[in-house]
Amino acid sequence: MGNKKAKSKAGNNGNRSRNGATRTAVNHGGTAAPGRSVERSSPGSPNHHLRSYEIRDYRLERPEFSVHQLTEKDIQGREHVRYQVSGDFDAPVPPIRDSKFLSKQQAVEIYRYMLLNRKMEIALENLYKQGKVVGGVYFGLGQEACSCASAYALDKDDWFAPMIRNQGALLVRGFGARDTMMQYMAKADSPTKGRDGTSHFGDIEKRNMISPISMLGDLIPVLSGVALGARLQGRNVAAMTWIGDGGQSTGVTYEGINFAAVQNLGLVLVVESNLWAYSTPSNMQYRCQDLAERAIGYGIPGVIVDGTDSCQVYDAAREAVERAHRGEGPTLIEAKMMRMKGHAIHDAATYVPKEMLDFWKKRDPLARFENYLVKEKKWLTAKENETLVAEVEQVIDAEREIAVNSPMPTPESAEGGVFCENGCHEIKPKYGTPNVKKGTASYKETEAAVHLK
């Protein structure tokens, strides 16, 4: 895992202040978020009516593309609509921004997880072609830095819930490639024992992972609730999840972030701006320039990073995680990159203009990080790199063998387990019994204020 810090205790739930000699008031600073001041231009200046907000943008390049629907006629005069893109496609690939936090050993470890992520998905593609996968395969190609470096910023007691392109985050958090592979093959030994596929599984006991569902945005209030539950038990944890530029269009995204904002909860939301939501380009999802700007409306910090730069992703995530640990509330991180395959394996993504694909191919996160570690920083020799790649391939081969050899579930195993019953789970607070304070007010019958008679 990332930098180890002493575990923070939940924030002091109140600053005591004396109001006269007899009354004591308690501000519940640990629940609702404090109000914040707004920076204004100085009185008397011509811009005194303007307010200003900050969005930190860590990128070393700021590509701007505009995608439009274009109607053209073919030779027979029939009309067809396609996407056309405009922008500067010849810009040079920027360097990796040095991390404020990562040691050599940590950087290499992130690189290894990205390799595992890439190779696992190649293995999945092959398993699909061999007819061993039930249903489709989803890829995080081009998004490995975003998935792996962000999850790497979490501490052991933190929580996460991946979306479909964050299969790398599962590897970082200690799941085997076999787990995801068995899910795709609907095997009896898969984490859900065949009941769900893909990365739809979880583990609330050891790895603090909540299973995603296919509906987008629904994890956001859930992760906020995890942070709330932990805070009630005296711990400020970071609760990380991801959402695409398409998924963030849902209403529950707003509800979830807003809840974390007003309650000052340690949600770390990584918005994966990967330009395509299935076949819909991002400028048909939202009108603002950058999704990080949404943070202004929520009243929380918003940050932009290059999603193909592992160091930028890590640093932003680590800062957000530390903010969460300090009880300072949620952070929205927008990671800019492109989804480099179709929505799923069935989708050839022919709707994506070729210039865009070529531009982002040059920004492959794995190739960029490899170049950084081997050539720029010389933290890995070419030989060490080769050894590492070979080791990762061996791991994936071994994991695939185990996964392939797992049996299919029996038909009868579809039954049971709908309810938690007969002591199948013991429920106890994860971080210890909440230390509750009780007021002096005692129970009294309520006055009959009847809403509807």
Binding site: T192, M215, D218, V222, L232, G256, E421, I427, K428
Partner: protein
């Protein structure tokens, strides 16, 4: 101690919060204001704003946050100002909360509670009985108490249950009925029906406010020598199949009574259970008394027409008795 239905629920939640520090409440206007119906009145003073949380008007966030907290071992009790608004959180409940134990083995001990039901001229968005939406979602327990004793015992059982429970409080009953409730701690088991009235001629299978409608009808019919048995289901999912079959075997004639719309309603499910398990015991057709297949209208004469009434139960019971 004589308690109203509302007071019984209040006391049940209060006692659970006193007993178990992992229990906390969240919802709209439940703190200083004490909730639209005052169910959590005074809670914030006793338990503090950390455990009695006023939320934004965001039902998906309320359910999502309750669910997330439950995964850390807390026992959240989420209030819906009216159960009509639970529709706003349907995806969270159906796709996240209900399926979680079956799919990936995570228990979610949370309670989603709030007022439902008609007879108060609340109109189409403040009078609904949406329990069937949840009955058709395996993984949820759906509870609809009819009496103060049951309301208190069942809310306590729901809070202690390791599964998501949807708890419907009939708002018509909130302050209209009162009964003796023991001061000492007790729970009413989820999934067990109660014989509200023993009888011999025919069985009314019902729950929530309709139990009282059936009881009134029983008083009228007893003067004609028709002796109704009334089965109060108390929990509509899981259903107490055994109790249903037992009453059918006893009286051989069944009326199923519920407030929500007839089509796709609980009566259809109960009729199917009777067909499967006690068909040979029937001496007449199974009769349904239910709300109309429309939204619940606002104007009192229209609402009255929409909802089941004592005279409906009397009329249908006479017809079935004579069959």
């Amino acid at each position: 101690m004589q308690l109203t239905y509302l007071e019984a629920i209040r006391q049940g939640i209060w006692e659970e919060m006193e007993r178990d520090p992992t229990v906390f409440c969240l919802g709209e206007d439940i703190g200083i204001y004490g909730g639209a119906f005052k169910v959590t009145d005074g809670f914030i003073d006793r338990f503090g704003p950390e455990r009695v949380i006023d939320t934004p008007i965001a039902e998906s966030a309320i359910v999502g946050a309750a669910f997330g907290a439950s995964l850390t071992g807390m026992r959240p009790v989420a209030e819906f100002q009216f159960m009509d608004f639970i529709a706003c959180a349907m995806n969270q409940i159906s796709n996240m909360v209900a399926k979680t134990h079956y799919l990936w083995g995570a228990p979610a001990p949370l309670v989603l509670r709030g007022p439902s039901g008609g007879y108060v001229h609340g109109g189409p968005f403040h009078s609904q009985n949406p329990e069937m939406w949840f009955v058709h979602n395996p993984g949820l327990k759906v509870i609809c108490p009819a009496t103060p004793y049951d309301a208190k015992g069942l809310i306590k059982a729901a809070i202690r249950d390791n599964n998501p429970c949807v708890f419907f409080e009939h708002k018509y009953l909130y302050r209209r009925i009162k009964e003796e409730v023991p001061a000492e701690d007790y729970v009413v088991p989820i999934g067990k029906a109660r014989l509200a009235r023993a009888g011999t001629d025919l069985s009314i299978i019902t729950y929530a406010a309709m139990v009282h409608t059936a009881l009134e009808a029983a008083d009228i019919l007893s003067q004609e020598g028709i002796n109704l048995e009334i089965l109060d289901l108390r929990t509509v999912s899981p259903l107490d199949r055994e109790a249903i079959v037992q009453t059918v075997k006893k009286t051989n004639k069944v009326v199923i009574l519920h407030e929500h719309s007839r089509t796709g309603g609980l009566a259809g499910e109960i009729a199917a259970i009777i067909n499967e398990e006690a068909f040979d015991e029937l001496d007449g057709p199974i009769i349904r008394i239910a709300g109309l297949d429309s939204a619940i209208p606002f104007s009192p004469p229209q609402e009255h027409h929409y909802l089941p009434k004592v005279e409906d139960v009397v009329r249908e019971s006479r017809r079935l008795k004579a069959y």
